[in-house]
């Protein structure tokens, strides 16, 4: 009986020691702040902030290397939420970046020559088509990042503002203007 208890206690102690050593030896440094920032960013992967995607931008914000106002798809709302998370003052969107209404790219299918350049540019694989075949854009997948507009050699891609209908309408954040109370 005593032997059994001793043996099990010994095994438990030995394994506990090994696991404790391993927890220190194989510790992984993870910054929970990066995940939180990344969750706020719109995940368009457009690169307009100057980083390779939303995750690298989140890492740069967490390190303090980047400002919070570089993300046009996130808009004012995204900046406000980032400011809230990080405990800093919200700023207007950075220079050269403007907040636009939500829009999607549209290919003029008569002009498309099937060069596949826009397919390679699209970060979210929202363009379907093949070489020398007409391409088209899946509006549900398009994030409106405009990366496909520049590469098109025949300028057949333009941005179209998404009209508000029952499927795209979103509840607006309430904004109250401050007034002097007499």
């Amino acid at each position: 009986m005593l032997n059994a208890i001793l043996v099990m206690a010994g095994i438990g102690l030995a394994l506990g020691g090994i696991l404790g050593w391993a927890a220190i030896r194989f510790r992984v440094q993870e910054d929970p702040l990066v995940d939180k920032i990344d969750a706020i960013l719109p995940q368009t992967q457009c690169g307009q902030c100057g980083y390779a995607g939303c995750r690298p931008y989140a890492e740069a914000i967490a390190k303090g290397e980047a400002d919070i106002n570089l993300c046009p798809p996130g808009g004012e709302d995204g900046i406000k939420r980032l400011a809230e998370l990080l405990g800093v003052d919200p700023k207007p969107l950075g220079e050269g970046l403007e907040s636009k209404p939500k829009s999607v790219a549209v290919i003029d299918e008569d002009a498309c020559i099937g060069c596949t350049l826009c397919i390679q540019a699209c970060p979210v694989d929202a363009i379907v088509g093949a070489a020398k075949q007409m391409h088209t854009i899946l509006p549900d997948q398009c994030t409106g990042c405009e990366l496909c507009v520049a590469p098109c050699p025949v300028d057949c891609i333009h941005m179209e503002v998404v009209k508000e209908d029952l499927n795209t309408w979103k509840w607006r954040y309430p904004i109250f203007h401050m007034k002097k109370v007499p």
Binding site: N3, V7, M8, I11, G12, L15, I18, A22, F26, V28
Partner: protein, 191 residues
């Protein structure tokens, strides 16, 4: 030497842990949807199973002996859980991608009946230390082989035109049964 070779061949093909002993079906069904995670799962299980069969043989021979043999299952589970915990930390450090892909199935190796079954079979068949290690390695290699074969088949099954009532897990179960029949062809390879 020939004896060792026979143990490996025997556990990989003839007495395959999944196909003929029907152990370890949870990861066999759960992680075989895609080829890449199944390779990772096979590698993790191979590592755990080989270590577990060696460690449990040492514990059974030197620590428990004939007097405390009733502690066998309990102590084996404790040792396996410890080794899985160690493997999890190791993979998290060395390959975060594999860690994310394996997800919940990595801690579930603890309750994988193949991992407990092989050390118990080792005791039952009175294997020595090297034989135990080889038996564990062979069993894990057999598990990995079957898992990869099955994952490759399921990737093709996804694209195949399957009648609606058979779609998904049911056709996978039927396929697993047919694979088991095919592995019966190896019976009699080793006397």
């Amino acid at each position: 030497m020939e004896n060792y070779f026979l143990i490996i061949v025997g556990t990989v093909f003839v007495n395959n842990i999944v196909m003929s002993k029907i152990l370890g079906l949870c990861p066999f069904m759960g992680v075989s949807r895609k080829l890449e995670p199944s390779i990772g799962m096979g590698a993790a299980t191979t590592f755990v199973l080989t270590l577990a069969s060696g460690a449990s043989h040492l514990i059974d021979t030197y620590l428990l002996g004939p007097d405390l043999s009733y502690l066998r299952t309990l102590s084996f589970i404790v040792v396996i859980a410890g080794i899985v915990g160690f493997t999890e930390m190791f993979i998290k450090k060395t390959s975060p991608v594999l860690f994310r892909v394996l997800g919940i199935y990595l801690p579930l190796i603890t309750t994988n009946c193949a991992v407990l079954g092989i050390p118990l079979l080792n005791v039952q068949e009175q294997h020595g230390f090297v034989e135990s290690l080889l038996f564990g390695l062979g069993g894990a290699l057999g598990f990995t082989l079957v898992l990869i074969l099955f994952a490759a088949m399921r990737e093709r099954l996804d694209a195949a035109d399957i009648p609606l009532p058979f779609k998904g897990t049911s056709i996978a179960m039927v396929t697993a049964g047919l694979m088991s029949l095919a592995f019966m062809g190896f019976a009699g390879l080793i006397k």
